[in-house]
C-alpha cells in the first residue's frame, strides 16, 4: 500500500493536489474507493483499508482518495461544496483509471455516474445530518446552551454550522441535505456482511470477518 497524489479540480476553476491511499500494481481490475463521511469516516477508516488489503490479495487494485477538505487535505472544509466532491471523485477515477467504484455509507452520495458502483450500507445525507445535529444539541445542552434542530438548520443555511467538529458552509449544507445515493448501484447491505456496522460503534473498532466478507462479495462480482 502506497501514498499517491492526484490533481483535484476545484469549484473555482483551480486544481489542488490531493492525497490517495493506493494498492496499485497496475492491474486491469481497479476500484475507486469513496470513503464514508465525517465521524463515520473515522470509524470506518481502518475497515476501509482492511477491505483494500483483501482486494489486493484477490488481485484487485484499489485507490482511496481524500475528499477535498477532509483527512489529509490542506483545503478548508467550510469552503467546499457537494458538487465539487462529486467532480473530485469522478476526476480521481479518471486519473487512476478506475473501472468501478466501491463507496461506503455517505461516500455513496459521491460515486461517479460513469462507472459501475458498489454501495456498502448507503445512507441519505438527511440521516447523516440528523445525527450530527442531535450530537450538537446534546453537547450544547451539557454546556448549558439550549439549541433546537430548526434554529440550527436555519443557522446552517444562513452562514454555515460546525457539526461534530466539522465546519460545514451554507452552500455545502444547502446542496448536501437533499442528496440521496444513486439508484443504479449494486447495494451491499450490512446483513450480507454479518454483525453490526462498525460506524455504529461509540469508538472506532475493527472486524476482520466483516472485512473478509465485503472484499469477497466485491471480488466475487468483479470476477477473478
Amino acid at each position: 500500500m502506497e501514498v499517491a497524489s492526484w490533481p483535484c479540480p476545484l469549484a473555482d476553476g483551480g486544481t489542488s493536489s490531493e492525497f490517495a491511499l493506493a494498492c496499485d500494481r497496475g492491474r486491469a481490475r481497479r476500484l475507486l474507493v469513496v470513503p464514508a463521511l465525517f465521524d463515520e469516516g473515522n470509524k470506518l477508516r481502518r475497515f476501509t483499508v482492511e477491505v483494500m488489503r483483501r482486494l489486493d490479495a484477490a488481485g484487485i487494485d484499489s485507490l482511496l482518495p481524500d475528499l477535498p477538505g477532509c483527512n489529509e487535505s490542506l483545503l478548508p472544509l467550510e469552503n467546499r461544496h457537494p458538487g465539487e466532491w462529486r467532480e473530485a471523485m469522478a476526476a480521481a477515477a479518471r486519473h487512476f483509471g478506475a473501472a468501478a467504484t466501491l463507496a461506503l455509507r455517505g461516500g455513496c452520495l459521491f460515486t461517479p455516474a460513469a462507472l459501475p458502483a458498489f454501495h456498502y450500507a448507503p445512507v441519505k445525507a438527511a440521516a447523516i445530518l440528523r445525527q450530527m445535529l442531535r450530537a450538537r444539541i446534546l453537547s450544547s445542552r451539557e454546556a448549558g446552551i439550549d439549541e433546537t434542530r430548526e434554529a440550527l438548520a436555519a443557522q446552517a443555511l444562513a452562514g454555515g454550522l460546525t457539526l461534530a467538529g466539522y465546519p460545514l458552509g451554507a452552500d455545502f449544507y444547502r446542496g448536501f441535505e437533499a442528496m440521496e445515493p444513486g439508484a443504479a448501484a449494486t447495494v451491499i447491505a450490512q446483513n450480507q456482511i454479518g454483525g453490526s456496522g462498525l460506524w455504529l460503534r461509540a469508538e472506532p473498532d475493527e472486524n476482520p470477518a466483516q472485512a473478509d466478507a465485503l472484499a469477497a462479495l466485491v471480488a466475487g462480482i468483479i470476477g477473478a
Binding site: D39, A127, A135, E142, R149, L200, R201, A202, E203
Partner: protein, 86 residues
C-alpha cells in the same frame, strides 16, 4: 412486548458499545450508562438514539432526552418501553 424490548435494547447497546456477546446480559436496572462509560460521548449518544429509533420503530424528540434516561440501563429501558407503549 416488554421482554422483547429488553432483549432488543441489550442488542443495540452491544452493537453501539462493541460489547462481547453475553456482556449486556449482565446489565441490570442500576448498571450505569452515560457518565459511567467513557465511550458514550455526545456523538455516541446521538448514534445510540438514532439506532433506537430505527430498530425499535420509535421517534425520540430532542426535548425528551434527559440525563435521567441515559444514566442507567433501567432508566433507558423504562424510557423506550414507555415509547413503545409496553
Amino acid at each position: 412486548m416488554s421482554d422483547q424490548t429488553d432483549l432488543l435494547l441489550r442488542r443495540i447497546l452491544t452493537d453501539v458499545l462493541g460489547l462481547k456477546p453475553g456482556q449486556a446480559d449482565e446489565f441490570d436496572a442500576d448498571t450505569g450508562l452515560f457518565g459511567h462509560l467513557p465511550e458514550l460521548d455526545s456523538m455516541a449518544v446521538a448514534g445510540l438514539l438514532t439506532e433506537l429509533e430505527d430498530r425499535l420503530d420509535i421517534i425520540i424528540e430532542d426535548d425528551e432526552i434527559e440525563g435521567e434516561m441515559l444514566e442507567s440501563y433501567g432508566g433507558l429501558l423504562a424510557f423506550v418501553e414507555a415509547k413503545r407503549g409496553a
